[in-house]
Amino acid sequence: FQVGLLVSVKRFFLFLFEIRVKPDKSGVVTDGVKHSMNPFCEIAVEEAVKLKEKKLIKEVVAVSCGPQQAQETIRTALAMGADRGIHVQVAGKDYENLGPLQVSKIMAALAKKEEAQLVILGKQAIDDDCNQTGQMTAALLDWPQGTFASEVSFEGDKLKVVREIDGGLETITINTPAVVTADLRLNTPRYATLPNIMKAKKKKIAIMKPEDLGVDITSRVEVLRVDEPPQREAGVKVETVQDLVGKLKDSGLV
């Protein structure tokens, strides 16, 4: 059973970095910040490469939408084992307004164009935490979806997905073609070591624009303001239980 697979990767600040809001509250400070692949996207790429190593799929194509720097993220995916990359160029203001709806339209168009049988994404990105792109892509393609996957396997030509849900784990079987989004415990992503990065330099990255895919990326959402979470107020110590009750009553909590 030989299938082609698309994996979507997104680039954001290194996960360790502490985010600071810009003084004019229009967004976050981006100057001089180290970027890397979204952790959940790394897990998605690892799963794609694993499926290829098990010879269950024939080709892994890594896709990223964004400015020139998106190619760094694609190169990381290629170093992890993807076969080729597609960079959909979106820059400047368009990129700032690029959201899950636009990306999923692009992914759906690419999935059709590449005749992919499987699209894998991270469950959410650590910058906007939308958790929407995978689901929207599946809806646009009218494909089944296995989201929050902590285990993926083939059963004949169907896909068995174990999903992490609030109550525990849910196992579903879905037809292919399908969309899967990766959760934290799906696998352990391999590190893109220097020799792998060198080898990946030979792999091709195709460049295209959203217009080439017939996708309109105008956003229906406008960011009005970005605020930091409220500072935690200092706690107050009390001497006796009576004091505690008194304070709770004063603040209207009791």
Binding site: F15, L16, L184, R190, Y191, L194
Partner: protein, 85 residues
């Protein structure tokens, strides 16, 4: 020094330098210690000995990969999931 071994040692040094960029205590801290560790053994000539040292270096690479993975996994787990009971 035997030529093929020299190549291996230099490759190892470059790989370690690359992976050391994300070291928690800073890439320059890592680079200093990497350099002194390699310099300490610069007079070793026995190819068998050199191979053993290279193997130790590869082991360090594996340990760093594990370190980075755990750091990332634990941060993600803390940020996105409920604390275990």
């Amino acid at each position: 020094m035997a030529n093929p071994i020299r190549g291996e040692v230099i490759k190892l040094y470059k790989n370690l330098l690359y992976i050391g960029r994300e070291y928690p205590q800073g890439s320059s801290y890592f680079r200093d210690r990497l350099k002194s560790a390699f310099m300490k053994n610069k007079d070793v000539t026995d190819p068998e000995q050199i191979r053993k040292l290279v193997a130790r270096g590869e082991f360090v690479i594996k340990e760093l990969e594990a370190l980075y993975f755990l750091r990332k996994y634990r941060t993600m787990k803390k940020r996105y999931y409920e604390p275990d009971d």
